[in-house]
């Protein structure tokens, strides 16, 4: 009898100790694993999800939809489907064509409606519901900056899509945000010598500027670059984003004494404003004894196609062009063309490249832990992505590479042959001191989401 009682006590004691240990063990283990515990850890959830957050409606929808195609192609290539695209040309390459760290990648997509609020909502859905380990995509700098700061708060890496404002990697740069695309400052540096050569050093410029972060910084950069040439700036006028009719802004240009109109517009805005300026007869005019000229400092193929005839002879800059002669460009144009039946835009290209670069950085870091991935991207030097040798600078997460100067094709041979590359600015020329834009990156340690 007594034996039994002792046994029961013993049993109770053991059970108590066991229960205590069971309850306490998660504490110990979590504490031990604290350093590696981060938002949407794929090793914990068992799936790798990329979030593609692009505008599918609104002013920049066309560029956004094309970017999404680029992302889908990138996922295929990372997972070893299709012809491998730029994985064949990227140097150095760590990806093996079997997904990331041996596991296939899945993706979710969202519509930002060309609207910062919707972009943040989309990114939150991807992070909170879909468990995205990385969010990427944007066609406006407003979206890119807003989502980038959200991603920093959540401890999720953000690979910016098409964003050209200096602020993205300047004043508003973040440790968790990376940009492959070039910026307005680089456009100014690259375009200035070509403007001087084509239009001379004695010009009076009138700016029409899309009224948001990208427009402001591009206006400032182009103004600085052209004034350094000896040009005079007559006026800078801000136009709201998404305007259909620019006639009220174009009329004052006629009597302003300007002989160059600089359109700091993108997407639908430029597709509307440039043809309207041409229909206004601006390019047939003489002003100050010279031909009136129009400059669109930031250009894309989709915009050029949209603007039609009006784009002939217009000078601008581009991040990339599908007709370049290097191996990377040829490979990308080929696989994109086979998949979608048209040459890719620079929007699709930068999206594709960003997804590949992130996956490659994870592979090199050997872990999804964001600080490790960030360190793998910072200061990374690579080649074969269509832009020549490229550096991801560590101090501001901006890519440094050649910038293309393009001109609207006077005699296009096909509907896609709308831009000619007339010059390239070497990487050294468009490299600048990160201190000129200020901002700070913030900490490496991820927040818990």
């Amino acid at each position: 009898m007594s034996k039994l009682i002792i046994n029961r006590r013993g049993l109770l004691r053991t059970m108590g100790a066991g229960a205590a240990a069971t309850l306490a063990s998660p504490m110990f283990f979590t504490r031990g694993a604290w350093a590696q515990n981060f938002c949407n850890d794929p090793t914990a959830s068992g799936k790798i999800v990329f979030g593609f957050n692009v505008p599918q409606t609104g002013s920049y929808a066309e560029e956004g939809l094309d970017q999404l195609k680029g992302y889908e192609l990138a996922v295929k290539h990372i997972n070893g489907e299709g012809d491998g695209g730029l994985l064949n040309t990227l140097k150095p390459l760590s990806l093996k064509g079997n997904g990331v760290l041996g596991q296939k990648v899945a993706f979710v997509s969202g519509d930002t409606q060309t609207n910062t609020d919707a972009a943040r909502d989309g990114a939150r859905r991807m992070i909170e519901r879909d468990g995205a380990i990385m969010v990427t995509g944007s066609v406006t700098s407003g979206e890119a900056i807003a989502v980038q700061s959200l991603c920093q708060e959540r401890g999720v890496i953000y690979m910016a899509g098409l964003t050209h404002s200096n602020d993205t990697t300047g004043k508003d740069k973040r440790r968790y945000g990376f940009r492959h695309f070039f910026n307005a400052y680089q456009s100014g540096v690259a375009i200035a010598p070509h403007l001087a050569e084509a239009y001379g050093r004695d010009r009076r410029a009138y700016h029409l500027t899309a009224d948001y972060t990208w427009g402001w910084t591009q206006e400032e950069s182009i103004k600085n670059a052209t004034e350094a040439l000896g040009w005079e700036t007559v006026a800078t006028v801000r136009t709201p984003l998404g305007l259909g009719d620019y006639s009220q802004y174009l009329t004052p240009v006629l009597n302003s004494g300007a002989d160059v109109l600089i359109l700091n517009h993108y997407g639908h805005d430029m597709v509307n404003s440039l043809p309207q300026a041409v229909q206004f007869g601006l390019r047939d005019r003489q002003a100050n004894g010279k031909n009136f000229e129009i400059v669109v400092p930031m250009f894309s193929e989709l915009m050029a196609v949209g603007a039609g005839e009006a784009v002939k002879g217009i000078i601008g800059t581009s991040n990339w062009h599908w007709a370049l002669e290097d191996e990377g460009t040829k490979a990308f144009t080929k696989s994109y063309g086979e998949a979608y039946g048209a040459p890719p835009s620079q929007s699709a290209h930068t999206g594709y490249v960003q997804a590949i670069l992130y996956a490659d950085a994870v592979e090199r870091a050997g872990s999804f832990y964001p600080p490790e991935v960030i360190k793998a991207l910072e200061g990374h030097e690579f080649d074969g992505m269509g832009n020549g040798p490229t550096l991801y600078r560590d101090s501001d997460h901006q890519c440094f590479k050649e910038v293309l100067v393009v001109r609207g094709n006077d005699a296009p041979t096909s509907k896609f042959d709308v831009l000619n590359v007339i010059g390239r600015s070497a990487r050294d020329e468009v490299t600048y001191d990160p201190a000129i834009f200020g901002g700070e990156l913030g900490p490496y340690e991820p927040n818990q989401c």
Binding site: Q56, T57, A61, L65, F107, V108, S109, G110, D111, Q113, N115, T116, D117, A118, R120, D121, G122, R124, R125, E128, R129, T140, S141, G142, I145, A146, S149, L150, Q152, E153, D167, D172, D211, Y212, T213, R238, P240, L241, E440, G442, P443, E445, N447, C449
Partner: protein, 377 residues
């Protein structure tokens, strides 16, 4: 003061239960993540406030987004200048929106009907333009007003409280607890239940009765010696304050304020929400807000891959057909689906989803042989 009729008490209890259990019943719908549930609660508050004006008085304001925007900007500025605590932010955003509503209402309420709608729309567009391009030092234009690490935050500084959120950007907090995720949702949910309660009180009060009187026959109200202006203005200001609270909450759960919150499309959205759910009913606008938010956030995120996975069980040809047809209605086509739904509801159920529910109940009762009751949910 806190007395409610028996029927209203039950309604409030059911409503509170539904709101608090959102994480459970939204899970099968793919919407149970804090970001969206916060929006559900916030837009429901916005809709309840809008309904106090539109539902009770019949005055259709087309500029309520202005108050939402004012609330958002005020909350972010309170975070930047005063403290990261959300209580002052919410109080200031509600009050400032009330002041804006007082000014806009004072002028707009001099007219009725369509002229009132146009006036509110004009004021809202003015606010939007100011925020978008004129007052950019205050609003930061299209980019939106963001927090920065080196903002002054005088109260936090004076109290010596370190910023919540560690070395990164500070995050909004309630008495030192970071407001994010589910905690953020429950704060919004508590305020939503409070808003619903206030709305019930107003609907049941003599004040609410007077507003209904104005709606059904304004001239008669005036002839009986009733001065309707103060009543209308009070309703407008209360409704604006609800919108300000909702705007403040938007900034609390996600500290950024953008001008697009003040756009006329946003004002139109709240009108749609209210009509979709059922104008003048207590619960209708809330349901309308949830349906529209659900479409905007969930339908827009469905892509072809998901459809392909969902229709995997069908034979290949049928699967392709189904995916091709349906893909036009999801993803970038979510506006189309919402538009169709709206048309159907306005044509067949002018009283909104609540009317649909009442019809169903009536049919069900008739089917069982009992007389239909005059419903009043």
């Amino acid at each position: 003061m806190f007395h409610l009729s028996r029927k209203d008490q039950i309604k409030l209890a059911i409503f509170a239960l539904v709101v608090v259990t959102m994480p459970i019943w939204l899970a099968p719908l793919g919407a149970a993540y804090p970001g969206l549930m916060q929006k559900f609660a916030i837009y429901a508050i916005f809709a309840i406030g809008f309904n106090i004006l539109f539902g009770l008085t019949g005055y259709l304001s087309f500029g309520h987004a202005a108050f939402l925007g004012v609330g958002s900007y005020t909350a972010v500025w309170s975070f930047k200048l005063l403290t990261m605590d959300i209580v002052p932010a919410l109080i200031f955003s509600t009050l400032l929106a009330g002041v804006f509503a007082l000014v806009i209402g004072f002028f707009s309420l001099r007219r009725t009907g369509i002229y009132f709608s146009i006036l509110t729309l004009a004021f809202a567009q003015m606010c939007y333009s100011l925020a978008y391009s004129v007052l950019t030092p205050i609003t930061n234009g299209e980019t939106g007003l963001l927090l920065a690490r080196n903002d002054p935050r005088v109260i936090d500084e004076a109290l010596g409280a370190g910023t919540v959120g560690g070395a990164g950007l500070p995050t909004p907090a309630l008495l030192g607890n970071t407001v994010s995720g589910y905690f953020g949702f429950y704060i919004c949910a508590a305020l939503l239940i409070l808003a619903f309660f206030i709305s019930q009180k107003i609907f049941a009060s003599p004040f609410g009765l007077a507003l209904r009187g104005i709606k059904s026959n304004q001239t008669r109200m005036i002839y009986t010696g009733f001065n309707i202006r103060p009543y209308m203005l009070a309703a407008f200001v209360i409704s604006g304050m609800f919108a300000g609270l909702a705007g403040g909450l938007l900034s609390v759960t996600d500290p950024i304020a953008g001008a697009e919150r003040m756009r006329w499309t946003e004002s139109g959205n709240i009108v749609l929400m209210t009509i979709l759910g059922g104008v003048g009913t207590l619960i209708g606008p809330v349901i309308g807000a949830w349906v529209i938010e659900y479409f905007e956030n969930i339908f827009s995120a469905i892509n072809k891959n998901m459809l392909n996975a969902a229709f995997d069980f069908l034979p290949d040809g049928v699967q392709n057909l189904a995916v091709t047809v349906l893909s036009k209605f999801v993803g970038e086509g979510w506006h189309l689906t919402l538009g169709l739904l709206f048309v159907l509801i306005v044509v067949f159920l002018p009283g909104g989803l609540v009317e649909g529910y009442l019809k169903l109940v009536a049919r069900f009762r008739r089917g069982r042989g009992t007389k239909p009751e005059a419903g009043g949910k």
